[in-house]
Amino acid sequence: MSDKNLQDYWRKNLKYLGILLAIWFIVSYGCGILFADALNKIEIGGFKLGFWFAQQGAIYVFVVLIFVYVRLMNKLDREYDVHED
């Protein structure tokens, strides 16, 4: 693969990382910790929202984030023809 393609591939990977890690940070450190008090004023289905993010919600989002990354990268690998087999 040419250097330019490689750089392109890497830049797109970094973009995905940036977006997904921003979400990772927002749901855990943001909603679960820093803004938990404000979110606790909202109540949904028996949960204060800040508490729910801290003890449930953020963990669900973590799982989803990894599988989204898996899909994005599998597609990107194919697009740049760097996938295995």
């Binding site: 855990s28 679960g32 938990a36 949960f47 973590f62 990894i66 990354y69 295995e84």
Partner: protein
């Protein structure tokens, strides 16, 4: 022997027989099978093994109890011990898999073209793994002695014997497949009581939803729990009442530590492809999340149950389990004011003591509750049959054994591969290397067993050390090794040393050196200081690397190469 002990005996023996059968089936014939299970593990299987490897006796037995007493603040464990997998999947696992060696010190040594860096990494890996494994052995001893009426020491020795058998025989291959069996045992054992209790308390079979459910009297569980807590002078369960800075730093240290722990990272060397390494991290986290989202539900149920069952009730009317657990010493009642009634409240709260407790003639909190009881006694509190209680014992053992085995493997690999093969005796034959790996793991099991029986004083504090040091040393070195082509030997080594020293000294000062909490920097406790150590590591590495020569061309090519998936051969040591 009573009914519960017979059930426990049957289930423990049956699960151990399964582990041994699996180990015999999955013997290792080469160093590659011994170190990375031959590199052919299916990503879902590896995910399950990683989950069992990761979830220790502490996750299984102690975590729900911790949350139960910490309330909202318990989020630091829930987030901290799951969020690291996102970092692993996105920043580390696929690239390390492409790099294709056996160990973390392998990567550090080659990427930073330095034997010194490799040895710093080996020492860290050994220290982190050893402190961690001792706790697991202790957990095995406790589970045995509490439920089977064998001596604590005998319990540890039985546990050592089992791990010895399948780890020495099967290496990573044997460990991987026994861990899959252990995951199934532990998750089943964790969920069964949780589901029963959720149905009993809020009529919802899914504990994760039950946590937001409504009690029989029509109030929401969590609202009721908040009210019960404040009525007895405790802090509200669902809200924060401490500074957010420390919570933030502790959570981050646990996450970054998770992503830097060698026994977790090495699991991603066992899958066939780079794409599998990413996928496998996702499965691992899914399997872990099943337990980690159930734990806060168990915590809230157990706490509510405890308040409702004991507070201001006559001691004579306590249910049978109360007496059973008093015998173990995990539950203790002392009738301070001699009225035969249990007063359970927060006697550390001066306002509550003067406003409520003293006028009522209470002379101090009369009930001491060990946090481990929240998981161990749950089935009895909910009146579940004997086989469910037996299952919890088997689950606790599975959690402790699987983690111990994973750690012991890292220890033996560090010695036979990183120290012998790559440093002291490079011309060692494959056969001799395999033999020394087996000897190393055998010796490590015995030493771990010894310290499990005679724990050195520092063991209680080791979690802070293990995670803090992993966060402050490995994590930045590996991440920069992948994401910065310019990062060189000088930068990485000075960063690791600064991170390690700073974190180590801070923890030492506040745990043993006489430091008091009001001297904490920015209010950060020793558990969270690894985060700051990591930032220092990054800063020092980046600065030093700018003033020293760039890494050699071939190293820069390695970095280019690990960034693309294609061409990942099987993990190799050559």
């Amino acid at each position: 022997m009573n009914d519960i002990q017979i059930w426990t005996g049957i289930i423990v023996v049956a699960t151990f027989a399964i582990y041994i059968a699996v180990a015999i089936w999955a013997r290792a014939g080469s160093t590659k099978e011994f170190y990375v299970a031959g590199g052919g593990v299916h990503p879902i299987v590896n995910g399950m093994a990683t989950a069992a490897d990761w979830m220790s006796a502490a996750s299984f037995i102690s975590m729900a109890g911790l949350i139960s007493f910490m309330g909202y603040q318990g989020a630091q464990y829930l987030l901290g011990w799951t969020g690291g997998y996102v970092l692993l999947a996105l920043l580390l696992a696929p690239y390390l898999r492409k790099f294709g060696k056996f160990t973390v010190p392998d990567f550090i040594g080659e990427r930073y073209y330095s034997q010194t860096a490799r040895i710093v990494a080996v020492v860290c890996a050994l220290f982190v793994s050893f402190t961690y494994v001792v706790g697991q052995m202790k957990g095995v001893g406790i589970a045995f002695s509490r439920f089977l009426e064998v001596e604590f020491e005998t319990g540890v020795i039985i546990g050592v014997g089992i791990v010895f058998f399948y780890a020495v025989l099967g290496g990573m291959k044997g460990i991987t497949y026994t861990q899959v069996a252990q995951y199934c045992v532990l998750i089943f054992a964790y969920l069964v009581p949780a589901v029963f209790i959720s149905v009993l308390m809020v009529g919802n079979p899914i504990p994760q939803f039950g946590l937001g459910g409504t009690l029989e009297d029509g109030t929401a569980l969590l609202a009721k729990l908040d009210q019960l807590s404040t009525d007895l002078g405790f802090k509200e369960y669902t809200t924060s009442h401490k500074g957010k800075v420390d919570l933030f730093f502790v959570t981050a240290a646990l996450m970054l530590g998770t992503a830097g722990l060698p026994h977790v990272i090495v699991r991603f060397f066992t899958v066939p492809k780079v794409a599998d390494a990413r996928k496998s991290a996702g499965w691992a986290l899914l399997f872990i999340a099943i337990l980690y989202t159930t734990a806060p539900a168990i915590a809230a149920f157990a706490r509510t149950n405890l308040f409702n069952t004991v507070n201001n009730k006559e001691y004579a009317t306590m249910p049978e389990w109360f007496g059973n657990w008093e015998q173990t010493g995990l539950l203790a009642f002392e009738d301070l004011n001699g009225d035969g009634v249990i007063q359970y409240y927060n006697d550390d709260s001066p306002q509550f003591v003067s406003a409520v407790a003293e006028p009522a003639g209470w002379q101090g909190n009369e009930l001491t509750v060990d946090r481990d009881i929240m998981v161990l006694a749950n089935p009895e509190i909910a009146n579940l049959p004997g086989w469910v209680i037996a299952l919890v014992v088997a689950g606790g053992l599975a959690a402790a054994l699987s983690t111990a085995a994973g750690l012991l493997l890292v220890i033996s690999t560090s010695i036979s591969h990183d120290l012998l093969k790559k440093w002291l005796k490079p011309d060692i034959s494959e056969k001799a290397e395999l033999r020394s790996a087996r000897i190393a793991i055998a010796v490590a099991v015995i030493i771990a067993g010894y310290f499990g029986i005679n724990p050195p004083g520092f063991v209680a504090q080791v979690v802070a050390f293990a995670f803090g040091l992993a966060a402050a040393s490995f994590f930045p070195a590996i991440v920069m090794g992948i994401f910065s082509k310019r990062m060189n030997m000088q930068g990485a080594i000075s960063g690791m040393i600064v991170g390690l020293l700073f974190t180590g000294v801070y923890i030492w000062y506040f745990k043993y050196g006489g430091g008091t909490p009001d001297q904490y920097w920015f209010g950060i406790s020793p558990e969270g200081i690894g985060t700051l150590g990591m930032l220092f590591n990054f800063a020092v590495s980046l600065i030093v690397s700018r003033f020293t020569p760039a890494p050699p061309q071939e190293v820069q090519e390695i970095v280019e190469d690990i960034r693309v998936p294609r061409g990942a051969g099987q993990a190799s040591g050559h």
